[in-house]
């Protein structure tokens, strides 16, 4: 179930050396550079674990290390996030049953002084916001280090095969995957030190400075000490309640993009998409490009929430969009076999007798995101619930500084928007962090103002209204 031909992507070029991993003793072909969960999926293995109490099958959901549905036993070690752990030749992978225990035969690693990395600005997250923060902080004169828990830079850009909107100087007309490459080049040029497969597990105040504790490849402890920190940890896919929503084959929309656009793995044969926002619409188009049948997009709202042009693009390929419809349940024994949807009345109640059954093996949830703020929360930044921005977000000023001096935020972790605004926020946060670290000259304030103006302009249309309402509640002067 690997994709070969694709109108936008060239997987032959992406795939590296072939290796063999073992799933419950059975050899499976995989490619270096891909994650365990992707290789298993390509081999048709969708059930990654069983729930502890009721023994229900569970599969991949977010595919970017943000949920726990892909935890498996790898070389005897339980609870490994297989969606962000790369395959290695000879790896032994097992499903977790019951409560997994640490192996008794292996000894824990001996304590040793962790490696300590010092910088002016530590950036957590290598997506559009984090990369822009790092590039601009470095440009402004700061020593910058960037860490990300994923095996590659780019955040969600690496699966965005569509062209971006906005102005051309903001990369409009350029595909997200290409933007990821461009930003990566810029980072390289500026000698920003990058730590991949490194999870930030703690963010602490250390006197005037900040301490970020990272774990590299699940085993090595690294301490990052910075005068300032930019948190650009992105967001997490939302789940909605319906019967059978835990069956393997119910994925977050982003997981499907990761499967097919980053790793060239076909997510399934027939898909139902829930949500007609930009993510759902773009996903439908990308599935069609990958040769996967999209049965329908259902949307509970009375209208299409994403850009109309994205909707028009999928409609003319014959994909129906059913507004005022919702998913009732996913059916199937070990994995999704069909989806039942129904029409809603004006009070959001299901209209009896309107049920439709779609024979699908994949249900994609594109029902929104919520900001990842765990590290900011832990550090003690002031938090507020702002539905317009996707949930709990941190209070901040117009330069992206939180209520803790020296801790900045950018991108989706500051509030759910999209990649263009994430890049602009990243630029502001990066420069502001360099200024706050005392290494940038005051002329850089002009660049901040310029980016702020561009943000205002981008948000000035009808699509920016909700975000602006939300920002009123969290941005302090």
């Amino acid at each position: 179930m690997r994709l070969t031909e694709h109108p936008i992507l060239n997987f032959e070029k992406i795939r590296k050396r072939e290796v063999t991993i073992y799933f419950e003793g059975q050899p499976i072909k995989a490619y270096e550079g891909e994650t365990i969960a992707m290789a298993l999926h390509a081999a048709g293995i969708r059930t990654l674990q069983h729930s502890i109490n009721k023994h229900r099958p569970r599969g991949l959901f977010c595919a970017i290390g943000k949920c726990s549905s892909c935890l498996m036993k790898v070389n005897g070690i339980p609870n490994v996030r297989t969606c962000i752990t790369l395959v290695e030749d000879g790896m032994q992978i097992e499903r977790q049953e019951e409560k997994p225990a640490l192996p008794k035969t292996t000894k824990p690693p001996k304590w040793k002084e962790p490696q300590r990395i010092e910088a002016d600005v530590v950036v957590i997250g290598g997506g559009p916001a984090g990369m822009m923060a790092a590039i601009n902080a470095s440009e402004a004169g700061a020593r910058v280090v960037l860490l990300d828990e994923n095996p590659m830079l780019g955040g969600q850009l690496v699966k965005q095969t569509h062209k971006f909107f906005g102005k051309r100087e903001q990369f409009a007309g350029v595909r997200g995957i290409k933007i990821a490459e461009i930003l990566q080049e810029e980072l390289k040029k500026r000698n920003v030190e990058v730590f991949l497969e490194t999870s930030a597990i703690m963010l602490l105040q250390d006197g005037e400075e900040k301490l970020v504790v990272g774990v590299r490849k699940n085993k090595e402890l690294i301490e990052f000490k910075g005068k300032t920190v930019v948190v650009a940890t992105g967001a997490m896919e939302r789940m909605i309640p319906f019967e059978g929503n835990d069956l393997p084959g119910v994925y977050g929309a982003g997981a499907i993009q990761t499967l097919m656009n980053t790793y060239g793995v076909k997510p399934g044969d027939r898909v139902l998409i829930v949500g007609a926002g930009n993510v759902g619409l773009i996903l439908a188009y990308q599935l069609y490009q990958a040769g996967v049948k999209v049965e329908a997009i259902v949307e509970a709202m009375p209208k299409i929430g994403g850009y109309f042009v994205h909707a028009a693009k999928v409609r003319r390929l014959g994909i129906p969009i059913l507004t005022r419809h919702t998913i009732l349940r996913a059916e199937g024994k070990e994995k999704v076999e069909r989806a039942v949807v129904a029409q809603l009345d004006e009070n959001w109640n299901v209209i009896p007798g309107t049920e439709k059954v779609f024979e699908v093996d994949v249900i994609a949830l594109a029902v929104g995101l919520r900001p990842s703020i765990e590290l900011l929360h832990q550090a003690g930044c002031q938090i507020k619930y702002v539905p317009e921005l996707g949930g709990h977000v941190v209070i901040r000023d117009s330069r992206m500084e939180t209520t803790i001096k020296g801790i900045f935020v950018a991108g989706d972790s500051a509030g759910i928007e999209e990649a263009t605004t994430a890049m602009l926020e990243g630029k502001i946060a990066g420069i502001a962090a360099a200024l706050s670290a005392g290494v940038a000259s005051p002329e850089w304030l002009k660049e901040i103002e310029k980016a702020q103006k561009e943000l205002d302009e981008f948000r000035s249309g009808p699509f920016g209204r909700k975000v602006l309402e939300g920002l009123k509640k969290v941005v302090i002067q």
Binding site: F165, K167, R168, G173, Q289, K303, I304, F308, T323, E457
Partner: protein, 168 residues
């Protein structure tokens, strides 16, 4: 609450809505040379079409405005069709009893010049067959999007908005 436009409930523009929101070029203009028509009725923050147009035929008062094409100024160069991130620009040209429709095509396979292809309308229904007259491949497209010009019966000029390449 304001009325939801039909196109936002359905996901596609009807020809009636196209006339109302976009405004169509005159029959005379359509016969002269290809003309760009933006099927982009909604205010979104996006400007590449106006930025790339070599004759400033695309007017946009602010970055969130909908693009308006000055059909007289348009030279039919197709750059807007190539760059548009929303794949919402098309070109129409009336030639004899046929119409030539230029559209973005980011699907495999990309057809060859002279090939017969299935014509799809705005809801993906097959409405006939047409012949491909020009292809700008991805490598030569300014927006990394292949564009295809297909010859269709004149009466389908305002219906055909996608093609399907069917090969044995």
């Amino acid at each position: 609450m304001s009325e939801i436009p039909r196109y936002l409930r359905e996901g596609y523009l009807s020809v009636e809505e196209l006339k109302r929101y976009i405004g169509l070029p005159s029959e005379e203009r359509l016969r002269q040379r290809p003309v760009a028509v933006p099927e982009c009725p909604q205010e979104i923050p996006c400007t590449p079409c106006a930025e790339i147009c070599p004759t400033n035929a695309i007017l946009m008062e602010h970055p969130n405005a909908t693009p308006k094409v000055d059909y007289e100024k348009c030279i039919g160069c197709s750059l807007c069709v190539q760059i548009c991130p929303g794949l919402a620009f098309f070109m129409i040209h009336y030639v004899g009893d046929k119409a030539r429709v230029t559209l973005p095509h980011e699907i495999l396979p990309v057809p060859n010049v002279g090939e017969e292809v299935v014509l799809l309308n705005r809801v993906g229904e097959e409405v006939g067959k047409g012949k491909v007259v020009t292809v700008v491949p991805r490598e030569k497209s300014r927006g990394d999007t292949p564009i295809v010009t297909v010859e269709v019966p004149l009466e389908l000029a305002w219906d055909v908005r996608a093609i399907k390449v069917v090969r044995e």
